[in-house]
Amino acid sequence: MLEIGDVEIPIVGTIEVGATAEYEEIQPINNDHIGLKHEHEPLEIAVAGFINEHVHSDELSLLEQRQIIRSLRSSDITDNDIEILGNKGHLLVDNVDFTDNLDSKIVDAVEIEGRFLPWPKFYSDISLTNGDE
C-alpha cells in the first residue's frame, strides 16, 4: 500500500524512479563536441498499482477510489506528502491513468506519474503527515 497525503493506493506493483539532469551537446566547428550537464531536476516517479475494494482500508468502491486518486492532479502539492524509498517529501502529480479492466469488477490498474520533492529541502516549514513529522 502507498499513501499520498490522505489518498490510498491499495496495491503497488512497481515504482520507477528516475533522476534527470538536462543534457546539451555543443558542436563547435573545428573541435570535438562538448557535453554540458545542467542541475539535476526533482526525481521523477511512476507508480504502477491497482485499486481494489476488498484491500482498501476504508473499503471504498472502485468509483470512489478512482475519484479520490484523480483528485491528486488538482490538489495542492503540500497535501500530497509521501514516503518513498524511506525518504519523506511531497509529490507533484503530473498524470493519473486508469486502465478499465473489463474482466474484473473489483480491481483496476492505475499509474501515477509525478515529481518527488524531498523534505526538508522543499517546504521545510510544513509538517508531514506521512512519517514521523
Binding site: 506493483g13 515504482i15 558542436q27 524531498p118
Partner: protein, 400 residues
Amino acid sequence: MPWFGDIFIPYLTDRDTDITKVTIERNFVDLPPQVFDRNAELEAGSYTAILTDLYHERNENLSEQTDAVLSMAARHATEFPYDESGITGHLLVHDPTITITESELIRPAELGLRFMSDDDFIPAIVGTADAISDEFDASPKESIVPIPEAVENVSDYLNGESITPIASIESEEGTIDYYLYDDVRNVISYENPNDDYSSSERIGPVRTFDADSERVYLDLKTLDAGTKMDNGIVRFEQRADVGELSHYDDGWDTIGETSVGVGSEKGHLSNIGNYESTISFVTGGDEYDISMCKGFPVVRCELDGMTDFSFDIEHEPLTLIEDGGYYYAVEDSQGNDIVLVRSSTDGSFNHTDAQVSVDGIDDETLYTFIIGIVPDELTVGDFSRYLYNQGYWKRSLAER
C-alpha cells in the same frame, strides 16, 4: 563488478552505446555531389545494471545503492572514471533510472549517459582564489587544491607545464598532495593512473552518513542529529547538543567539540560532490550549514543565531601559538596545531586551557567559522590564509 569512482554497482549486465556522425551530401549544378562529415557526437547510450545487497564491496543495502545511482545525475563526470574491458574514460550520467519491484533482493537500474573517452578528455580542476569576506586582508590571495598523489602528470593546463605540490597530507586511503593556485583562473589537469583508473575518486572523498550510519549520496534523505561527514582525514559528527571533530593519524582521535547543536532540527545534503559537500539544517529558525572539503582537515560552519562560537579541546591544556586577526591557532597537549578561522571582525578571539572561541558576535548576522588541524607540512599562517582564500573549485573535463 566495476567501480564508478566512489560508487560501487554490483552487476553491470549490458552496455549499449553508439557514436553518431552526421553526414551531409550536397548536390551542385556543375560539380559532382560532395559529401561532408561533421565531427562525431559524443558516444551515447545506456548501461544496464543490477543492484543487490547480496554482493557489495562496502556492504551497502539497497536503499544506499539506490541513493548512489540516482545521485550520479547530480555529480560531475570527473567523479566517474571508468575502465573496463579496454574502455577508458569518464561517464557523464544524465538519466539514471531504478525500478522497484516486489523483489527484496534486486533492483534493476539503467544509466543514460555520455562517454568521454580518455583519448579525448582529461580531468581538471579550475581553482580561483577569493576571500571569504573583505573584512580582513589575507594577502597574497592564494589557496591550495588537493589532488591524490596516485594521479599522474599534474600540469597547468593552460601552458602545459608540469607543476609540483607544495605539501601533502595522509588520509585513511592514501596521500593527498596540495597544489597552489591564485586569484587568476587556474586550470590544473591530471591523468588517472592506468593500473587503477578510478582509484583517485576513492581517496579522501567527502562522505556523508545519516544517524544510522547509512551512506547518504543525494539530497533525498532527511538528516538529523547523529549525521556524520568524513573525508578520511577528519570526521565531524553533528549531534543534538555539540559537533564532535575527530582527526585521522594512524587511527581516529577526537580533537574537540563545537558549541553548535541541532536539537531536533532536520536537514539535507544541499551540496553534493566528492570534492565538497554541505549539509544544511533548515527546519529551525536559524541558518546552519556544515561543509567539508576533500583533503582539508577542517570543517566549515556557516551559521547565525549565536552570540559566540566555541570549540572545546579534548586534549587540554592548550597553549596559544598565534593570533592572526582572522585566525587563532593553539596547540593541544598532543602536539596538534588547531586553528579557528573567522569571516568577520565582529567579536573577539579568546582561549582558556580547554577552549578556543569567538565571543561577542551578533546573533542576527551570518558568520563563517572554520575549525580544524593544521597539516604538518604547512605553517599556521599559510594554511589559515589558504582556508580564508579558498574561493571556488570547479571540476572539468578538458580536451587533450
